[in-house]
Amino acid sequence: MKQENAVFDQVLKASPEEFIKTWVSEVAATGSVSGSAQNDARELFAAIQANIASDADLNRIDGDAWARTRSVLAALSQSRAAQGASAGDTNHFVMSIKKPLFDALQKDLGADARGALQAVWLASTLIDKLAQFTATTYQRSREDVIQRQQQELLELSTPVVKLWEGVLAVPMIGTLDSSRTQLVMESLLTRIVETGSELAIIDITGVPTVDTLVAQHLLKTVTAIRLMGADCIISGIRPQIAQTIVHLGIDLQGIVTKATLADALQLAMKKAGFVITRNKA
């Protein structure tokens, strides 16, 4: 075993229970402590101890020898990220190991100032690296969550609804960008083929702004629908948006536009040959 590993091994072996207790109380003293701190500390302690005992290089935590510690840290930061703990708290938990470790080193090497300083330096860089690794993993798992939510948002906000025999509607909600338009276009066109619908209504009541780019996306969708052999009505154009469209000089010619979804449905029924009557009581 390398000399520095032997020093740390001895320090960790001395009184594990005491070590973990100091660690957890240090976490509690300077930050919020989660319910599983005790167990997490025990698990992480065991992993670090095992890796040091197996003569892992203290300067390179990305090596195979540190695999166990890394997997414990990864699991820790993932579960904390899922529970919504802050990055600071998660990091703080790992950093707090310095307190018991330095205490123990001082007790063991107190007389030998030179040796103690070197050991502290090694311990400090090692723990910094472990904390850095935790932060990176934490951030990555948060980013995964964000990405998944974005994907879900994308799919949630674009349902294709069947309004009547041969009439489909897409209530668009949120800002229209290229990827949204692509998704809407694909799902709408697929549904047109599946249901053999000849009319599609795109309702843009939920679209907050229409600029030239959004208009271009709408035009593309309408053209694609027409190429498939179906017709398209755009509805839900609010007065504000109508004004913007005219002021920007966007050409919506050749596209049937209606103020409300009700108007669009009425037109769709008329085109499909339905007559709406009302039986008064």
Binding site: I192, M228, G229
Partner: protein
């Protein structure tokens, strides 16, 4: 060279494209079709592209030009059964096929041509 068959059904010519169109085949179809319209005096052309999965700008342009040629020869062209992916590709290529009539399937395309034919007689 491969040729796309052209079937005559009454006053309508039916073209079903079952293979991915090579440029030469597409040009051949354009020649054959214009000759057949002239021979038969057909007033409707129905092009079924439901089996077509890959298009490029050339094929897109060819569809537009076939429609243009047919119009000059006094026949209405209807393109039917375009796949969603094909429609999206054509739009992304900037080909909106203005002046080409479209329908969801052969049945509706035929109905469209029948209405068109009746209107001609009325005129």
């Amino acid at each position: 060279m491969e040729r796309i068959p052209i079937l005559k059904m009454g006053r309508v010519l039916l073209v079903t494209i079952q293979v991915d169109l090579q440029d030469q085949v597409a040009l051949g179809l354009q020649d054959d079709l214009s000759a057949r319209i002239e021979q038969t005096g057909a007033n409707g052309v129905l092009i079924d592209i439901s089996a077509l999965e890959i298009v490029d700008s050339f094929v897109g342009r060819m569809l537009a030009s076939i429609s243009g040629i047919a119009t000059v020869l006094d026949a209405t062209t209807v393109v039917v059964g375009m796949q969603p992916a094909v429609a999206i590709t054509l739009v992304e290529l900037g080909l909106s096929l203005e002046g080409v009539r479209t329908a969801l399937n052969v049945e509706r395309g035929m109905a469209m041509l029948a209405v068109d034919d009746r209107n001609r007689i009325d005129d």
